[in-house]
Symmetry: C2
Subunit: 212 residues, 2 copies
Amino acid sequence: MQIAILLYDGITALDAIGPYETLSRIPGARTVFVAERTGEHRTGSGDLALTADAVLSEVTAPDVLVVPGGTGQAALMDDGPLHDWLRAVDTRTTWTTSVCTGSLLLAAAGLLKGRRATSHWLALDRLPAHGVEPTGERVVFDGKYVTAAGVSSGIDMGLALVGRIAGDTHAQTVQLGIEYDPEPPYDAGSPEKAPAAITAAMRERSRFILDG
Amino acid sequence: MQIAILLYDGITALDAIGPYETLSRIPGARTVFVAERTGEHRTGSGDLALTADAVLSEVTAPDVLVVPGGTGQAALMDDGPLHDWLRAVDTRTTWTTSVCTGSLLLAAAGLLKGRRATSHWLALDRLPAHGVEPTGERVVFDGKYVTAAGVSSGIDMGLALVGRIAGDTHAQTVQLGIEYDPEPPYDAGSPEKAPAAITAAMRERSRFILDG
């Protein structure tokens, strides 16, 4: 089975690596990082590059598609070759998935119309413009479409998907392998749990980020 | 401030990305991925390459050093230029840290002697040979040395360290930014919590991995 993870400039690394570190541990799975061009793709800060080993035309029938988020996603919202590719491979996938603002890309390509989906909490209100019903859940399954909330939620999504694909025992094996027994030192991981001033400040700053 | 994250062939991606996605969000921080040679360094499966932008000799005084784990670590346990570099930069760091089996590298370089530390649960019993006291905690602070348990624990370590470096408010801001409000779909993230048969099977298989 093939897992295809999309890369682009301005990606958020953990959006891609959470699903990678879980899904790639499915027995027999091969993961390919795919992008409009091969080679390095840098995170928003520019501090880290991940390598794409294949161009879009080389990946035609992945079993699982993962679309990560990142500030660079704002530059990819217009229809074009990338959206064409998303629509084409979606006809072949068993699971079409996203993390964080990656769901905005799937939505912009028309793949989530009429479905329930999630995104980074700051981007949830962008989904209805694409005919998508936003939810506050961390991982949302709607048919073969699986969307995860912000950044770190891709680990939870990946484990849930490993369970669906390879069974509960294997998913638990992966969880144990990556020792995913979270102990966050704070309890501020959602807009409801974080101090109100922190949530408000981040909401204010984000106005500019999501528009690229 | 400079955060240096070590890369090598056979690294576990999430070991590096958990600290990256948290520590790199400290205001004014620059992160550099550093290795014995620049360019691509692949994960154990070979499916993903991360880029090192600097060689060891170019990074002489990082404020924070992060040593990730991975199966490739087994090939780096003998003393040599990498250990020399670890010892040299450690004299300049404010924090010397590791994730997963990265602590075995720090230990082999002699940096954890007489200290308490952790590692991937499968590797804890390798620490005493280097004069290190293993603990079952997820994140261990001992002076300026901070070690984290397996793979995903680097996120918890990163957040704890952001709190020490930039304060609680900023750490909570980072946690909210990466929406780190974990909801693992299973409760199998530690050897005590996973079904006994899963823990036993993984322990059996690991015998070969840790020896490279």
